[in-house]
């Protein structure tokens, strides 16, 4: 019974933890401009993250070691360093966007300018990373993130033409007033938002933090194969709400406040408060995950002691990297760069860095020396290879499409 409850809790936290500022902004923005005609990009991204998160979780459970540690050992220090640099830059950009997202969510609740919250948010993120147990922070923010289910309820309450929405998903068509380049630019943005690299590092490092063994592979798979797709449904609900309420009025999402507007229209004040709680939980939880991921990646590459399962004194360099990342993220938001724009760029640059993240994971998960009898099967290899091609295309096309479309204007 205890094991069943543990699996159930893991699935719930995987659902609640799936959505971050990138998913919130990208799905609402795309829903308000393209309806659900780009839902296919989210669906492909969700399958992709499931394939690689399962691999990285299995690697963590079998080897008991972090991803970057294995990448450096298996592919050499130079490739490892390239991988580390690209991943760190993208994760730091995402971290900045998440800190800005928390501050924007607090502004919605108080109407106090978000910049005043930024140092407080930075301090809170650092304190939680420093003081709170790994399992506690994962469970609390994952469960609070479930508040975003309110978008699903709002969509149901709005009583849209379900046939029309399903038709948009099943038979995607570019809206007449949008050009092809912009359509595919946002497809890559949605794909990048669903497959953000830090999610995989955090998932596998979390496995090591929680001392997964091979007997835990089933639990990890349940989290990934049930939790992530249900999290993906939340993303689609956010896009659906925007498609139903904002698109007909010609409202194009460029603020977090606009993301929550359909919830107010459909369900009123209390539900809007729940949505704001969901925004705070999703962005704060993701800020902790990205902050920790910068420390995980760096410490694993250099072979330092890392993790929250040891006392901070024993992992001083790991915590120093995390602290520096918090300072950098706070400073980044305080430049007054628009956090929503930072989010948009972070998910597109995520797409560019995807091959560097996922190729080494496929290599390690396919190596019997590390994995023994838990090495990739034909299905995992087949799907992994297909997704590497998709990821490669997205990575190559992202920057040219960004330039051609003036970042989706």
């Amino acid at each position: 019974m205890k094991r069943v409850l543990s699996v159930f809790l893991g699935i719930l936290t995987a659902i609640g933890g799936f959505v971050d500022i990138g998913d919130l902004v990208a799905n609402a923005l795309v829903g308000s401009r393209f309806g659900l005609s780009l839902a296919w990009a989210t669906l492909i991204g969700v399958v992709g993250i499931c394939v690689f998160a399962e691999m990285s979780g299995r690697v963590a459970a079998v080897t008991g070691r972090g991803t970057f540690d294995l990448i450096r050992e298996r592919l050499g220090p130079r490739v490892g360093l390239l991988n580390l640099t690209a991943s760190l830059l993208v994760t730091l950009l995402t971290f900045t966007a998440e800190v800005g997202g928390v501050a924007l969510a607090l502004e919605l609740a108080t109407s106090v300018n978000y910049l005043l919250f930024v140092p407080v948010v930075g301090l809170a993120v650092w304190l939680v990373i420093w003081r709170v147990k790994f399992s506690t922070l994962e469970d609390v923010f994952g469960l609070l993130g479930l508040a975003l289910i309110v978008f699903g309820v709002a969509l149901w309450q709005l009583n849209p033409s379900w046939g029309d929405l399903l038709h948009q998903i099943a038979v995607p068509q570019k809206p007449a007033d949008e050009d092809v380049a912009t359509y595919f630019y946002y497809a890559i943005a949605l794909f990048g938002a669903a497959m953000t690299p830090y999610e995989v590092f955090f998932f596998s490092s979390g496995g090591v933090e929680e001392h997964w063994r091979t007997k835990d592979i089933g639990t990890a798979r349940a989290n990934v194969f049930i939790g992530f797709p249900l999290g993906g449904l939340l993303s689609l609900a956010i896009a659906g709400c925007a498609a139903v309420v904002l698109l007909p009025d010609g409202i194009q999402v460029d603020t977090l406040g606009q993301v929550g507007l359909p919830v107010a229209v459909a369900l009123g004040k209390l539900a809007l408060a729940v949505a704001i709680l969901g925004f705070v939980a999703a962005t704060f939880g993701a800020a902790i995950e990205t902050g920790l991921s910068t420390g995980y990646a760096t410490a694993q590459y250099f072979g330092w002691q890392w993790g929250k399962y040891v006392r901070p004194r024993q992992a001083a360099r790991f915590h120093t990297v995390v602290l520096l990342a918090v300072i950098a993220a706070v400073a980044g938001v305080l430049t007054t760069a628009d956090p929503i724009k930072v989010t948009e760029y972070s998910i597109v640059f995520s797409a560019v860095a995807l091959p560097l993240t996922y190729f080494p994971i496929l290599v390690v998960a396919n190596d019997p020396v590390y994995m023994g009898r838990h090495v990739n099967g034909k299905l995992a290899n087949g799907l992994g290879s297909v997704f590497l091609v998709v990821i490669g295309i997205a990575a190559v096309a992202a920057i040219p499409l960004m330039l051609i479309t003036a970042a989706g204007q």
């Binding site: 108080t110 109407s111 809007l272």
Partner: protein
């Protein structure tokens, strides 16, 4: 030495001259005007939907205020960007500018009025200003459709 310096200065002058954005063609200016109107509609409609939700008791004052401030700032930015574009020397461009600029001005003023009314908690003023703003939104929409690229 002096000759070389002169060549460098001349080359730099040519390069910098090339970097200055020329006035767009009449069709490009029209497309820019259409996009500006669409962007303005997005901000104005956001304010109207939010105000409506607030008046129906579906949204708190803090959320409304934040949305209105953001819409006002975004519209100001859209207006400034349009005004910074050098219109081509053509009567049609002047006509476009003479039509769109007052609409953007009216929308900006109405958003300011909405924000003031929201902060003073004056529902009647919110309702009246929202009604006025609806008319401006419709004109902006019509302009955007007419000059869509």
């Amino acid at each position: 030495m002096t000759r070389a310096l002169g060549t460098i200065v001349a080359a730099a002058g040519l390069l910098l001259g090339g970097c200055v954005a020329p006035a767009p063609s009449a069709s490009a200016y029209e497309a820019k005007a259409g996009m500006t109107a669409d962007a303005a509609v997005s901000e104005v409609r956001t304010a109207l939907v939010a105000t409506d939700a607030y008046l129906l008791g579906r949204m708190g004052a803090a959320y409304l205020e934040t949305l209105l401030v953001e819409a006002e700032e975004a519209l100001g930015s859209v207006h400034d960007t349009f005004d910074s574009v050098q219109p081509p020397a053509a009567p049609s461009a002047d006509s476009l500018r003479d039509t769109l600029d007052p609409l953007l001005q009216d929308a900006g003023s109405a958003l300011t009025e909405l924000r003031i009314a929201a902060r003073r908690d004056r529902d009647d003023d919110l309702r009246t200003t929202a009604d006025d703003l609806t008319g401006v939104a419709e004109e902006l929409e019509a302009f955007g459709k007419q000059h869509a690229s």
